[in-house]
């Protein structure tokens, strides 16, 4: 806060006049791409659209129909490539590369400038209303630039992958239009210098998520999945909006600088309320309990979309919001503990569901939910840098996993397409032994699997260990440990969170290894005719995979642990210090959260042991050879059935929320309000009123000018009387 005033007094920001002035171009590039691709798509919308897939796909269950499911509706015809595919595949990734290049330049400028305060580029006054003054402004600081680097970098790779993956889709330019629009809104979200700007991006990415989940909207399940995501997110957005209202009514400011500078005026109760409402928004966007249900269904969208939106970027917006509001969250231990605890429960819960899913994308979806829970543990316990670190590494390895699964699904579809088979191309029971057909994908996905399982030296090990270490370090001597949460002492809760984190890590290792075993190892179950058509994906798809593989391998170097003997120790931690450092220090009572090196070694050893045990359990207990293809599999029973049906949460929500809502809508809103009140009183009532007035008016209208003159004179008297008696 002091720093802010000093900067204002000093005048010019070190970044003013530098390339950071062009920050607004970063989101504008994807917007241009959206406009071009959108126009291309509109030009052809009249005669090219998604073909009706129901004829051949009626037997598929929901949310899986992927890649070329529509093209193969043709039987053996060669799928039509969109007439504008050339322009779209040039423009779509090119705008992302332009954004990435500019971001990298600004990133370098920022790291050279050693800016302690954010650089704010104000574009125009957006909402000047009374004492509410909101500018359309972009904020360049360490946090927003990390996010922007991830979004444009990973986004570029996924755009390139999409060129190969979607090339035969009839809605090709439309796909790139949505994807570019998504990147635009995502950049607005992370670059916006105030909460309303963030909210615009927040809603915009929600819209694009809806559009892309329902990209193949001609199949009802996909459209329903899109709607589900949209509606569940609205619940969270309500919380975010209330948090903004509370901020404005208590502080009168909505820009980050203003809020952070005046946050100390807030009473503890108000700041807790703000944080909890804000976290409700995060739970919606980042798929945490109880609002996680939309994310697994969101896998109905194209796989690159799952990689970009539902793994790497959009779903991490909640983590970003908590990190961005770290000043507020650090003032409320209760809210922070809530964040951490919900994150931990979500991590465990989703990991158990992931154990028993057969759809390769569903496994990854629950894995994403689980890893997001990890990030919330990190930002919840005040280790904001650790949470953001995990966000970054997760973006690398989860994008790699999703794109790898996309590559697998692509190969499966191609194989099925050749033989006209309409089996499920996403079910792992139909895969197996793919290692020999697609070695590149196989190797890269193992890298990502080891990363997510937490095996050193892959990226996930460092970030996950950082979070768990942070939880352990805060069990003593932090504001969180001293607080009580629903009657539970904070330190006990933190120990529980740590334990849950370890168990989730174990489960993560198990289900990821299970996925790899069933997909790539053992005998092939695709089918004898199809087997000869299984091929590795083209270079345009494996290329991005390779880049992500390198990042998954080396991403840990961004933030090496303190005990590490060499290299840039804690680089990301120091990098983010101007943004989240003060808040993190408040959580730890002003001292750096430090563990003894001996303790730290024990914790790291434990984490590695857990990961190795998990992988070992999976390898020894699971028998890929015993699996039969999906159509011949018996229905599972007992606890397995519960897990396969995701604890019946969707069914429970349906019974507890949806059905009562429908019932209330039907009886109270429809029969009572609409028919009774609106139709009865309002509509018919107003017609009766009009008819009554008309009856009186008809009596008045005698046609006698004399009568009119009387009325006129009385009226004149009334008007003049109003003047004189005033």
């Amino acid at each position: 806060m002091l720093l802010l005033q000093e900067a204002a007094a000093a005048g010019a920001h070190p970044l003013s006049g530098s390339i950071a002035e062009w920050i607004w171009l970063v989101p504008v590039f994807p917007l241009i791409g959206f406009l071009i691709n959108g126009l291309l798509s509109l030009r052809t919308a009249a005669h090219i659209g998604p073909k009706d897939p129901t004829a051949h796909h009626a037997h598929h269950d929901h949310a899986h129909d992927d890649a070329h499911g529509h093209a193969d509706g043709h039987g053996h015809d060669h799928p039509a490539v969109h007439p504008y595919a050339g322009i779209a595949s040039l423009v779509g990734p090119a705008v992302l590369f332009a954004s990435f290049a500019l971001t990298a330049a600004i990133f370098l400028a920022l790291s050279g400038a050693h800016a302690e305060t954010p650089f704010i580029k104000t574009l125009f006054s957006w909402m000047p209303a009374g004492n509410l003054a909101i500018n359309a402004a972009f904020q360049v600081d360490q946090l927003s630039m990390v996010m922007t680097m991830v979004i444009t970098g990973v986004g570029s790779l996924i755009h390139v992958f999409s060129v190969g993956y979607m090339k035969e889709d009839p809605g090709y330019p439309r796909y790139f239009a949505y994807l570019n629009l998504f990147v635009f809104f995502m950049l607005v979200l992370v670059l916006g210098a105030n909460y309303p700007m963030l909210f615009v991006g927040w809603e915009g990415v929600g819209l694009c998520s809806y559009l892309l989940i329902g990209f193949w909207f001609s199949e009802k399940a996909n459209a329903d999945a899109g709607k589900k995501a949209f509606i569940v997110n609205r619940i969270g957005d309500f919380g975010f909006l209330v948090a903004m209202f509370l901020l404005f009514s208590n502080l009168g400011a909505l820009d980050f600088a203003g809020v952070n500078a005046t946050a100390s005026q807030l009473s503890p109760l108000v700041v807790t309320a703000i944080c909890l409402f804000m976290f409700l928004g995060c739970a919606g966007k980042s798929a945490q309990i109880p609002l996680y249900v939309w994310l697994p269904d969101a896998m109905a969208g194209p796989t690159p979309v799952s990689a970009l939106i539902h793994a790497a970027t959009m779903v991490t917006a909640g983590v970003y919001l908590v990190a961005r509001s770290s000043v507020l969250f650090s003032m409320s231990p209760v809210a922070s503990l809530t964040v951490a605890f919900v994150g931990a429960i979500t991590a465990l819960f989703a990991a158990t569901i992931g154990l028993k899913q057969w759809d390769i994308k569903k496994v990854l979806a629950y894995s994403t939910v689980s890893q997001l829970g990890y990030m919330f543990i990190g930002v919840g316990v005040g280790a904001y840098a650790a949470g953001v670190f995990h966000l970054v590494t997760h973006a690398f390895f989860k994008a790699l996993l999703f794109l790898g699964s996309g590559s697998v699904i692509y190969a499966m579809h191609q194989a099925y397409h050749h033989t006209g088979n309409h089996d499920d191309a996403q079910d792992m029971r139909n895969m197996g032994g793919l290692r020999q057909f697609m070695p590149v994908t196989f190797a890269l996905m193992w890298i990502a699997t080891l990363a997510i399982a937490g095996i050193p030296p892959f990226a996930g090990f460092f970030s996950k260990d950082e979070i768990l270490g942070a939880v352990f370090a805060r069990t003593h001597g932090s504001t969180l440990a001293d607080a009580t949460w629903l009657g539970i002492p904070g330190s006990a809760l933190l120990y529980a969170i740590y334990a849950i984190g370890l168990v989730s890590a174990l489960l993560t290792a198990i289900y990821m290894t299970r996925m790899m075993l069933y997909t790539f190892h053992g005998p092939n179950r695709t089918g004898d005719k199809e087997r000869s058509h299984l091929r590795e994906a083209p270079w345009v798809m494996t290329g991005p995979l390779a880049v992500l593989g390198v990042l998954s391998l080396a991403g840990g170097w961004l933030n090496l642990p303190t005990f590490f003997p060499a290299g840039p120790v804690q680089a990301l931690h120091h990098w983010l210090e101007p943004v989240t450092g003060a808040a993190a220090l408040r959580i730890t009572n002003g001292a750096e959260a430090h563990l003894e090196h001996s303790t730290e070694y024990i914790l790291v050893g434990l984490a590695i042991a857990i990961a190795v045990i998990g992988i070992t359990i999976a390898v020894t207990r699971l028998k890929p050879a015993a699996l039969v293809s999906k159509s011949q599999s018996p229905a599972s029973e007992g606890i397995e059935r519960v897990l396969e049906h995701k604890y019946f949460v969707d069914e429970a929500y349906d019974a507890a929320v949806v059905q009562p809502l429908v019932g209330v809508s039907r009886t109270v809103l429809w029969k009572g309000m609409d028919v009774g009140l609106i139709d009865g009183l309002m509509v018919n009532g107003s017609s009766y009123l009009a008819r009554g007035i008309g009856w009186v008016g008809a009596r008045l209208q005698s046609g006698q000018v004399g009568t009119y003159a009387w009325v006129l004179i009385i009226g004149v008297l009334g008007v003049l009387g109003a003047f004189t008696l005033r």
């Binding site: 209208q701 046609g703 006698q704 000018v705 004399g706 004179i713």
Partner: protein, 98 residues
Amino acid sequence: MMVAEALALSAVLFTIGVVGVLTRRNAIIIFMCVELMLNAVNLSFVAFSRMYGATGQVFVVFVMTVAAAEAAVGLAIIISIFRHRQTVDLKNINLLKG
């Protein structure tokens, strides 16, 4: 300057015109009552012009123009109605009743 007295005279004449409009049924006489009311207003304009300058008299000219136009159109209407109904009694004329 007799302005107050002139205004009072104007008010009285205006009221007589109003009462005439209210009580008479002969369309032509009602028209003449309206002319009387216009005259009363003219008187007040002239009285005011003694206080505020000649603009009031200019307005009198305009009022007379409007009165002349109104008389021409109004009497044409009365003639037209009389041709159809053979009366100018307002009691028997209720064309305004749609």
